[in-house]
């Protein structure tokens, strides 16, 4: 694996704890950036593995999000569906530095839009 190609997308204060923001990507799928109530940040492709629901619009609890379409619970850490459901949403490497959210561009732009 090559080293991450970090790109800053927004200030870390742009997303309220317990909510998510979206990052549009030219030529690839939208990314959802989550800020948990516990204060952590995660980035996932904004698409539920079930029926493609926008995860960014779900209720965030602990380190998971419930998809707004059919209430599948997705781990923000691994992107895996929790409980008895099966499926996985790609996760995007993220870091918080200098009060900015940074995403790994390589992990994003190599993804084709579906």
């Amino acid at each position: 694996m090559s080293s991450p190609d970090w790109v800053s997308v927004c200030p870390s204060t742009a997303i309220e704890a317990g909510m998510a923001g979206t990052v549009s990507v030219d030529g690839a799928e939208e990314i959802a950036v989550f800020h948990t109530i516990g204060g952590d940040f995660y980035a996932l492709v904004n698409r539920c593995p079930h029926k493609g629901g926008p995860l960014s619009q779900g209720i965030v609890h602990g380190d998971s999000v419930s998809c707004p379409l059919h209430n599948w619970k997705i781990s923000l850490n691994s992107g895996e569906a929790l409980g008895d459901d099966e499926g996985c949403t790609p996760t995007i490497p993220l870091k918080v530095e200098s009060e900015q959210i940074w995403l790994d561009r390589a992990a994003i732009t190599t993804r084709e839009r579906v």
Binding site: D5, W6, V7, S8, V9, C10, T13, A14, I15, E16, A17, G18, M19, G21, T22, V23, S24, V25, D26, G27, E30, I31, V33, T36, I37, G38, G39, D40, K51, G52, G53, P54, Q57, G58, I59, V60, H61, G62, D63, S66, P68, L69, N71, K73, S75, N77, S78, E97, S98, E99, Q100, I101, L103, R105, I108, T109
Partner: protein, 839 residues
């Protein structure tokens, strides 16, 4: 490389190598101590310090500010230490230049020292947020003794202090200033105090405690500027326009590694000065230690890692192979009377399991995060006695599988052999032992109650009240049930969700009884087993609080389902549908034109007439929603709440105004009903209808509340549903006038709002409670209906506020736009530069 050129302060002094230390702080001096301990005669040491004083314990500045310690008490190394170890101290004269080729440093005062080894321990700088007014007199940081002196002077002569930053440092500053008699307001950008160290639950407890001591804590407070008056600070203006008066402003928003000097000397500096496991920088003769360094990608701002670093540095400088491997950190807040401890990673994550214990009566919250068979993090509030034990388990990566069940009860309990099994622990209790502190119920009483036939948790709760109040003894009662009955324990009523042992009724009752006001408070008081609930309980609690505290409770957007957050209905492709309100199903050319224009302008893919007599516009993008609403507002239309657990629609037929069979003005009554009840939040969606005659064209008998007009007045029907299970309404009563019909409708709605479980429609609610119960509530006592109706009207004055208009005017623009974007490819030079931290 050897020293080559220029002035040298003599040959090696007495054969000693020359070690120059930049920084007379905790890290620099501790490193020297460690080196002296290993090889006292190896180095001749010179220390440069920027502050004009000896080395002191910076983390004890808080107690100095609070008046609990004096400066002399926090001095680590007095002048004797320097002279006893032949250390040359040059204080008040910072190094301004390093000549790595010549192996020399130059101070601001012109002192030149040569070195064989150079140690940089420049620490960190307080971060000053770049707002207008940051340089005004009266604005200070909280970093060194000068800052403390400035604050103490301000406390003597002035009244009001604002501390920006609700982290460790900020709260300690606030505490000290409050003890010195100032009125203190803490402004914290994030919703939770000390969010790096605490979870929401512990943050809530801390906030309540500090507020109880008279501090004002404002979370989500984003500083816009510092206001000036007569050349001094006069207040802080927040970005939301709020102004807080202040004679003193303390900025305690964080620190950043001070790598300025290292960077100017072309050493490798990223976030901090990059070092290896022996704290060696990119130049083998230059080392760095403390808060200024970056080791394996991490920077530290706490004292414990610093000690570890200094040991490794000394080992390296004396050729001993003990490297630094990074530190796991723990935090204690130095505010007297507040017990708070956190360590490791408590954010949860893959495969992590939370063990949570709450004791509302004693204000205790304990959370241990376990991954596999190991403790990975802990947050303790109120009882931190076991903090070090958990921290040891964490650092040693001990296998805790044997004590897992009893882990949360602490070391004494978990290591107690047989007591480690909670069931045997309960069995070992005497009959007189108190099980439920809230209701004073002994073990003997609980067992007696179980033997007398209470075979479920619910039965025990209702018969002897054990665990019926705060629920913290629920585990004990469940163990007693299992001990007494074995497998004959009956599972009780469903709990709200897996996060709590309480059912909806209990939660609703306790919210009112205990006067609880926020979601974290409910979770703490009722011993939630998860740190911040789940997608089932959060929206339910939000509704219960909203219903219990009209006009007072602040709606929690993060506990709202997306439709209620965006005031539109999410569709399978992620776009939204928009339904403007049409009172009683009546519309006019102006509204229809506006809808048609919206459909064309925003390229809505479909318009559909709904079952509730509205027009539903499909395929609107979330970014376009505010503009769509602005256009609809302009034509006089407001939100139709087609997305909410709320009053949806009042469907009507044309009634006596047009229909040859109509007996009353059904459309008129429908409009009045809708105007009375629109905007109200409910346990679930709520639909009404008014039919002008028993032919019932408005299908009123499958609605939550239906009116059938007859010659003699109005039949009022309840509990109908046209969904998965069709249920025809029950006749509640007949009334003669429109006013009575409206009054009864308001009372029924409020009864449902106050009693039903979240996500329970009126149909299953009426079935569960029984029609007779509903009738007895509404028809038994003539006083009840006016009281219920009055409570409904009271609550309505706060909810009849068009959410669309606010959004159209720019409120919560963040919910409708991307936070950022990423362009197609990397920039032309192929490199994306990291931004420099703002100075």
């Amino acid at each position: 490389m050897n020293a080559q050129t220029g002035f040298k302060s003599g040959a090696k002094l007495g054969g000693r190598e020359r070690l120059v230390v930049i920084g007379n702080g905790m890290a620099g001096c501790r490193a020297v101590e460690e080196i002296l301990a290993l090889q006292p005669d190896r180095y001749a040491v010179t220390i440069f310090g920027a502050e004009p004083r000896v080395n002191y314990n910076r983390i004890m500045l808080s107690p100095v500010l609070a008046g609990e310690k004096t400066f002399d008490e926090i001095v680590i190394n007095s002048e004797d230490w320097y002279s006893a170890n032949a250390i040359k101290l040059i204080s008040g004269d910072p190094v301004v230049h390093i000549d790595r080729k010549a192996q020399q440093v130059v101070s601001r005062g012109g002192v030149i020292e040569s070195y064989d080894k150079l140690l940089i321990a420049t620490g960190s700088d307080p971060f000053v947020i770049p707002v207008p007014g940051k340089d005004l007199p009266g604005v200070v940081t909280f970093r060194d003794f000068d800052d403390v002196e400035t604050m103490l002077k301000a406390a003597e002569t002035t009244q009001k202090a604002v501390v920006i930053g609700g982290g460790l440092l900020g709260l300690e500053a606030a505490h000290g200033l409050a003890l010195r008699g100032m009125e203190v307001t803490v402004l914290h950008l994030m919703p939770t105090l000390m969010e790096r160290q605490l979870d929401e639950a512990a943050g809530f407890l801390l906030k309540s405690e500090l507020e109880g001591r008279g501090m004002t804590i404002m979370t989500g407070a984003d500083t816009g500027e510092i206001i000036e008056k007569d050349g001094r600070v006069a207040g802080v203006k927040l970005k939301d326009g709020n102004v807080i008066d202040a004679d003193l402003v303390v900025m305690a928003v964080g620190i950043r590694p001070n790598g300025t000097l290292a960077k100017a000397s072309d050493l490798k500096v990223e976030r901090g000065i990059v070092v290896d496991d022996h704290m060696v920088t990119s130049d083998p003769n230059v080392l760095a230690v403390g808060e200024c360094v970056q080791h394996r990608g991490a920077c530290y701002g706490l004292v414990a890692p610093l000690w570890d670093m200094c040991r490794s540095l000394a080992a390296g400088l004396t050729e001993q192979p003990k490297g630094y491997e990074g530190s796991v950190t723990s935090t204690k807040l130095k505010v007297s009377g507040v017990d708070l401890f956190s360590a490791g990673d408590f954010s949860g994550g893959e495969d992590c399991e939370d063990i949570v214990m709450r004791d509302a009566a004693r204000g205790i919250y304990k959370r241990v995060v376990v991954k596999g068979d190991k403790v990975v993090g802990t947050v303790l509030y109120g009882d931190t006695q076991d903090g070090n034990w958990y921290f040891d388990l964490l650092r040693n990566e001990d296998d805790i599988s044997d004590i897992r069940e009893a882990l949360i009860f602490g070391q004494a309990f978990a290591s107690g052999g047989a007591l480690a099994d909670p069931k045997s622990a309960v069995a070992a209790l005497s009959d007189e032992a108190e099980i439920c502190g809230c209701n004073g119920v002994s073990k003997g009483k609980v067992v007696g109650c179980i033997n007398a036939g209470a075979h479920s948790l619910d039965a025990v709760r209702s018969q002897c009240k054990a665990s019926a109040s705060c629920g913290s003894c629920t585990d004990l009662v469940e163990n007693l049930l299992a001990l007494t009955l074995g497998d004959d324990v009956e599972l009780g009523a469903k709990t709200m969700c897996k996060c709590t042992s309480f059912g909806h009724d209990d939660v609703r009752r306790l919210i009112v009884e205990k006067g609880m006001k926020t979601i974290p408070e409910v979770m703490q008081e009722l011993h939630w087993s998860t740190p911040d609930g789940c997608s089932s309980c959060r929206p339910a609690l939000n509704y219960y609080l909203l219903c219990a505290l009209p006009g007072e409770y602040v709606d929690d957007q993060k506990s709202r389902f997306v439709n209620e957050r965006l005031h539109a209905n999410i569709q399978k492709d992620g776009t939204y549908s928009v339904v403007p309100r049409m009172w009683g199903g009546i519309t006019n050319p102006r509204e229809l034109r506006a809808i048609a224009d919206v459909v064309e302008k925003y390229e809505a893919r479909m318009v559909k007439v709904t079952g509730g007599q509205r027009l539903d516009i499909f395929g609107i993008k979330k970014e376009d929603l505010p503009a769509v609403w602005a256009d609809l507002n302009a034509a006089g239309m407001v939100s139709g709440h087609a997305y909410g657990k709320a009053l949806r629609t009042v469907k009507t037929c044309v009634g006596s105004e047009w229909c040859r069979f109509g007996t009353q003005d059904s459309t008129g009554l429908g409009v009045k009903l809708e105007q009375m009840s629109w905007g109200s939040w409910m346990p679930h969606k709520f639909k009404m209808a008014v039919s002008g005659c028993p032919r019932n064209c408005a299908e009123a008998t499958i609605k939550d509340f239906g009116v059938i007009c007859v010659d003699s007045g109005y039949e009022l029907h309840i509990g109908g549903n046209g969904g998965i299970t069709v249920r025809v309404t029950d006749l509640l009563t007949r009334v003669e006038t429109e006013e009575e019909a409206l009054e009864m409708s308001a009372a029924f709605v409020q009864l449902y709002r106050e009693d039903a479980w979240y996500l329970e429609r009126t149909a299953p609610w009426v079935e569960r409670k029984g029609l007779e119960w509903v009738k007895s509530q509404l028809l038994g006592d003539p006083e009840t209906v006016p009281k219920l109706a009055e409570r409904f009207r009271y609550s309505q004055q706060f909810s009849q506020d068009d959410p669309w208009a606010k959004r159209a005017a720019g409120e919560r623009r963040d919910l409708h736009s991307h936070v950022g974007s990423i362009a197609a490819g990397p920039p032309a030079d192929g490199a994306i530069k990291e931004v420099e931290p703002a100075e």
